[in-house]
Symmetry: D2
Subunit: 184 residues, 4 copies
């Protein structure tokens, strides 16, 4: 089972990217998480797209299309997802094929405050309605007070958070299998 | 396949209740839609619940529990679902069992304006995350300018809208079957 | 300055009602907070309204109309405001006059979890757009882990939370004055 | 009164940019609308910012800071604002100063569908809470079926829409004056 993981933060020391790397080590047997590069996508411009997808967008879209499921790791900027993440979703969502369609989705996020990106995640869920993707309801992984949960090298050292991520990925595996097995 | 349909409006001439009645006649073979009564529920009060569910709540909860899927038909009041509908959801969501859990969900709504209850439906979708229910993504049935689409007796006479509802119910049937067939 | 305070919970031991009572004692000089009764409103039904507002709705609407500002204290049920609160808003929002229009608004809420009703408060904010009311942006008072912040008699004993509420009410006073002074 | 206008679409023939240009011609006496360039902003990266704002971000932030009010013109991509617009907001919102703070805000948007960017606009409103900016409640300008309302050269030819925009700008002027006159 191949999962594509997308972090919405480009900062080198990002807690969200660190959480995504942690997820790679916490994935259940049989699941691999491949991290997508979205920092080299241009700002979305439909004229650009119409002239032919730029190579970075082409690569990102192919990666999405070849995945069994997608894991979003979103920071919260200004009470929503980052522009960086939204820009990637915009590139991913356009014709001819729409690679998010029908995909099982898991999401998580980390922030310094108490809410742990809750507001961003509900915006992300609304986007999934348009994309006709299938987000997991539970568990909701909102890593608040992130500064206390990662060490200086970016390693996730908070055991309860590690356990939440483990459960999220197991749920994603089960949800992916359920959607596949039930497919007409 | 038994679907419980809930209209969020108590007005006798409600377009939403009329749309729900129309849905009963548009259901695909093998699906029956039973209309839930929510107008006799008291305002939710957790002290009441703790003392034992009132009979109207007991009945509503049993009806939800015995359903294969749920169809919400929501008006939009003040850019959200009606208090009447939210009150019913509040009664339906409490211990010991939580009858919305795991249920396939379809939603639609009717309003006089152009947006056809879009804002209410996204609020409803957020509630479904907590309830761990599974709303359909598509089609989204938002019946705008409802005054032109029903006749004086409350019959839905707009053919495109009838076709949207037909598709919604077929999608609900397929989604219910998919979730059941895929279940572990 | 007369503020009408509305708690969205009818439970006797409600943390939200307790927070509203605490607010009465924390109001700045010159502000009084009058608690609205919403537990005796019937479920909203537009046929009822058209036949003449029931006395409880008449009373509630008059109370809103005579206020300088409104303070909502909302629990979070199913990731939104309670049906009880929404029902009160629905009664308050209908013709001939619309007593929320132009009113300065403050909101807060208490919950057992960490998020302290954040999700409910953003839904409430969306309702304020329709009602053309003016919610304060800051501070946002989200009282998480409420069980630790009130004593057994319902007294708010957490000093940082008391300070947040004090600031909320001072901000509401300033915001109300600003809107009044600037009015054309 | 200087308003900075921001279109969230980079497409040359964008209806949103066309609507913003139309707004320039519909502004009431004494108001000028200056269009911000956001297409040359890099993707937001907090490491970049910490090393010193890039010139395009510096310019954009200075433009915001020098404005009396801000007009957002947002497309709707994937049921939210465009990544392009969110990226600009992210650049605009960071220390040392936060130029959105306290600003009067108007918003509008254009789309091919019926909803006219409603979903994007409510996301945008939630961002304004964090930014402590003051969005107008009314009128809400949602230009649906945009293809019928602009001519081939991008001129807004639909008179009711022109009138809506005129009213939006007059309301923005009045709201800006009210907030200024009422300021402590």
């Amino acid at each position: 089972m191949k999962v594509v993981g997308i972090s919405g933060s480009l900062r080198k020391g990002s807690f969200n990217t660190a959480a995504l790397r942690a997820a790679q080590g916490l994935a259940p047997e049989g699941m691999t998480i491949e991290i997508a590069e979205i920092g080299d996508l241009p700002l979305y411009n439909d004229d650009l797209r119409a002239a032919g997808y730029p190579p970075s967008a082409e690569r990102f879209r192919a990666q999405l299309a070849s995945s069994d499921a997608i894991l979003f790791v979103t920071p919260e900027y200004n009470y929503s997802v980052s522009g960086v993440l939204k820009n990637a979703i915009d590139w991913g969502s356009r014709p001819p094929n729409q690679p998010f369609e029908g995909k099982p989705i898991a999401m998580m996020g980390a922030s310094g405050g108490l809410l742990g990106t809750a507001r961003a995640q509900y915006h992300l869920r609304q986007m999934m309605v348009f994309l006709d993707a299938f987000p997991l309801n539970k568990p909701e992984v909102m890593i608040g007070q992130a500064g206390k949960k990662f060490d200086e090298s970016g390693k996730l050292i908070d055991e309860p958070t590690r356990e939440f991520i483990r459960k999220l990925l197991e749920s994603l595996r089960d949800w992916t299998n359920r959607l596949k097995k039930g497919a007409p």
